[in-house]
C-alpha cells in the first residue's frame, strides 16, 4: 500500500495590485451598461428624442417653417375646447365598442374550435384566419369600397334580392362606422385568434377531464374554465386592440377619408390631419393627449385584470 504523498496546498495566488483590482471591478460594473448601450443609443435617437421634440413642439405654433412662437398651453386648451377633438375621441370610442367586445368573443370561439385536436384540417383553418391579417390593407380597403358601394356594391345587390332597400354603407353617418368596424374585425381577428390559441395551448388538459367527470358541458367548461384561465391572454389582446382602435388611421384614410361629415375621423386620423395641414404644434399636442387617453385605457385594463386576480 502506497500512500500518495500528501498534496501540498497550493500557495494562494498573490492578490492583484489594487489598481488592477479597481480596473476589473470597473469592468464588471460597466459591462452591463456597455451591453445595453446600443439599444439605449437607438432608443434615445428614435424614441426619446422624437418624443421630447414633439413635447416641445406641442407648446409652440410651429407650422414647419419660420421661427416658432411659444404658446404655452394654448394648443392643449384649443384642443380641449375643440369639437373636432372630442368628436374624434367619440368616434374612436364608438369604434372600440363596435370592435373589441365582438372581436374578443368571436376570436375566443374560433380559437377554442381551432384548439380542438379532433378538428380536421386545423392547419388550413389557422392559415385561413390569418390571411386577412397579412393582406395589404389598401387592397382590402379597395375591395371594401366596391363591395359596399351604395348603387353597385355586391352587399346591396344581395339585400335587394331579398327585398331590402339600398344602404349607404360608406356614405351615411349611421352606417360608415359599423362598416369600418366590420373591416377592422375581419382584418385583425386572425391575429387575436393566434394570441388566444397560444393561451389555450398552455392549459392543462386534466382540468377539462376532471370537469367532464363532474358533468360540465361544453359551455360550462368554456365559461368556468377556459375564460378564467386565459383571462390574462384575453386582457393582453384587449389592450392590444384598444391601442390599435384608438390609433386607427389607415382604415378611415383609405376607405372613407374620415367622412361622411367626419363621422369616421378617428383620434389617429385627426392627428394626421393636423400634421398634414402643417399645424404641427396642434398635432403634437393632439398626440400627447392621445397618449394620455391610451395610457388611461391601458391602465384601466390592467387594473381590471388585477381586480380579477
Amino acid at each position: 500500500m502506497t500512500l500518495a504523498p500528501a498534496t501540498r496546498a497550493a500557495p494562494a495566488p498573490a492578490p492583484p495590485p489594487p489598481k488592477a483590482r479597481r480596473a476589473a471591478h470597473l469592468r464588471r460594473r460597466l459591462a452591463p451598461y456597455v451591453f445595453v448601450a446600443p439599444f439605449i443609443a437607438l432608443f434615445a435617437a428614435f424614441s426619446i428624442y422624437p418624443m421630447l421634440f414633439t413635447l416641445r413642439l406641442s407648446f409652440t405654433d410651429w407650422r414647419g417653417s419660420g421661427t416658432a412662437q411659444w404658446v404655452g398651453w394654448g394648443n392643449y386648451t384649443y384642443l380641449l375646447g375643440s369639437e373636432a377633438f372630442w368628436s374624434s375621441l367619440g368616434n374612436s370610442a364608438m369604434l372600440w365598442l363596435l370592435v373589441v367586445p365582438v372581436q374578443m368573443v368571436l376570436a375566443l370561439l374560433i380559437a377554442v374550435c381551432l384548439n380542438n385536436a379532433k378538428l380536421r384540417l386545423r392547419g388550413v383553418y389557422r392559415v385561413s384566419y390569418l390571411v386577412p391579417f397579412v393582406t395589404p390593407l389598401v387592397a382590402v380597403a379597395q375591395i371594401w369600397v366596391v363591395l359596399f358601394d351604395q348603387d353597385y356594391g355586391a352587399v346591396n345587390q344581395i339585400l335587394s334580392v331579398v327585398g331590402l332597400p339600398d344602404v349607404g354603407w360608406l356614405t351615411t353617418t349611421t352606417w360608415a362606422k359599423p362598416t369600418l368596424a366590420l373591416l377592422f374585425i375581419w382584418k385583425t381577428t386572425g391575429f387575436i385568434v393566434v394570441i388566444l390559441l397560444s393561451g389555450l395551448q398552455s392549459l392543462d388538459e386534466t382540468l377539462y377531464e376532471a370537469a367532464e367527470i363532474d358533468g360540465a358541458g361544453t359551455l360550462r367548461k368554456l365559461w368556468s374554465l377556459t375564460v378564467p384561465l386565459i383571462r390574462r391572454t384575453l386582457a393582453f389582446a384587449g389592450v392590444m386592440q384598444t391601442l390599435a382602435v384608438f390609433q386607427m388611421f389607415a382604415e378611415p384614410f383609405v376607405v372613407t377619408q374620415g367622412g361622411p361629415y367626419n363621422s369616421t375621423t378617428t383620434a389617429g386620423f385627426l392627428l394626421y390631419k393636423h400634421i398634414n395641414q402643417a399645424d404641427l404644434g396642434t398635432g403634437a399636442a393632439n398626440s400627447f393627449l392621445l397618449v394620455v387617453v391610451v395610457m388611461l385605457l391601458s391602465l384601466l385594463f390592467v387594473r381590471l385584470l388585477r381586480s380579477e386576480d
Binding site: L55, T60, W62, G64, S65, Y261, K273
Partner: protein, 467 residues
Amino acid sequence: MTGMSAVPARPDSSATGRLSRRQMNGLLVAALAGALAACGPSINGDSGSGGAAKTDLLKAPTGDPSGEIVIWDRSGDLFKVFKAAIPAFNQKYPNIKVRHEAVDIDAKLQNTLITGTDVPDGVFLDDAKVGGFSEYLWDLKDVLKPYLPDIAPQKVAVSSLGGGIYGVPYDLDPGLLFYNEKALKAAGVDVEAIETYDDLLAAARKYQEYRPGSGPIHLEQSAFLGQLQLEMFAGQLGTALAGGDGQLQLDSPAYTKILTWLDTVSKEKLGTRAEYLTPGDVGALESGDQVFYPWAIWFSYAPQQQLPKTSGDWRAMPLPAWEPGGARSGAMGGSSFVLPKAGANSGLAWLFYEFLMFDEAGYEAVWGPNDVYPQGLNTSIPSYRPAANPDKPLFKPLEALGGQDLWATATAAGLQIPAGAAIPAWWSGAVDYLGNDLQRMLDGDLTPAQVIDQAGPDIQKNLIDRS
C-alpha cells in the same frame, strides 16, 4: 433606552454621498428641461436653426450652364411625360444632367424642407399647397417677368403671396360642361341653348321628364372635390374663398348664389350624388342617368378610360354663365413647379422649367403626342398663352368625345377664366368645415345660408385665426 429611536433614522444623504429621492427628482426634471430645450424647432428668442431664410429672388444663371439637377415629380403617367421631355431639354442644355425622381411629394416634401436634407432643385406641386411652403421657396418674380403678360392671370394669382411669385405655372384646368350628347339628343334637349346655370336647370328638368328617376347633373359627394368644384364656380364669378389679403370671402352674394343653385339641384332631385368616378358615379354615367358633368378638363379622362359603354357619346362645352354674358369658365385644380431655396442648383432647375413651359420645343414635348399619350396630353392645357394657341393644337381631337376638338373648346374657355387670388395655406383644412357643410346641404340638412353662417366662423376660428 435613551438616545435610540424605534424607527431607524433616514440615512443622511450628505453623509452617505447618495442622492435623496427629492434630489433625484430634481435632477430628472432638470435633465428633462435641458433635453427639451435642446429638442424641437427654434422658438422665438432662441438662436437655433429652425427658421427659414429670408425670401430671396431667384436669378437666372448666365454663361454656359452646367451641373446636375434633382427634379421631383409625382409617379404615374405625368412622370413619364416629363421624363420623355428631358432629351429635348438636353438638346438645348447638353451640360445639365437631370436626375428625375418619382416621389410621393405630399408625404415627403414637408419633412425634406424642414430638415434641409437632400432637398431637390425643383418640385411638382399642387397650386393649393404652394402658399404653405413659400418660406422655403425661391421668389420667381424676376425670372418670370418676361413671361408674366402671357401667363393666365389666374395661375399667376394662385402662386402669388406677399408680392412674390413662388411657382412656375404649369397647367391651366378650365372648367367645362361635359354632357352625354346621345342621351340628351334622344330626350330632345338642345344643348346649344344652355348659356346660364338656369338654362342648365331647365335642361335637366326636361331630361328628367324624359327619363324619370334620373339625376342628370353631377352632385359631388366627396367633401374635398365638392369644395374644389365650388371654388371653380366661385372663380367664374371672380371670387374665391380667400381674397388677396387672405380674408375670408364666403359670406358674399357670389357664394350665396352658387350654393342656392346647388341646393335647388339637390331639392328638385335633379342631381346624382356620387363621388367622382367611383363605381356608383361610373354606373350612373354609363346608364344615362347622369348626363351633365360640370368639371375641370381632366374629366376628359373618364370617357377615354372609364366609360367604355358611353365613350364617344360625350362632348364638352364651356360652363354655363352665372349671369347672361358672364364668364363661361373657372379653374378647378392645377399645379405648378416650385424651386426650394435649399436646392443645390435652383438656377439650373429654373432653366429646365423655363424650357418645358415657355419654349416651343418644351411645351410640345409635354402636351404634344408622345409615347405615353399618342394623341397628346389632353387632360389640361398650358397656362402660357402662346402655348395655348387655339390655332396650334398640341393634342389631337378625342375619339372618346366623338372626335371633338377639345383643344379649341378648352383654350377658348381658358381665356375666360377671371383672375383669382392666392390659395391660402389653410384651404385644404377648410374642407372639414365648408366641404362638410356643403355635403350636409346637399343631403338636405342645411340651407345655403346656414352653410355660410356655420362654415365661415368655423374657418375663421379654427384655421385663419390660428395660422
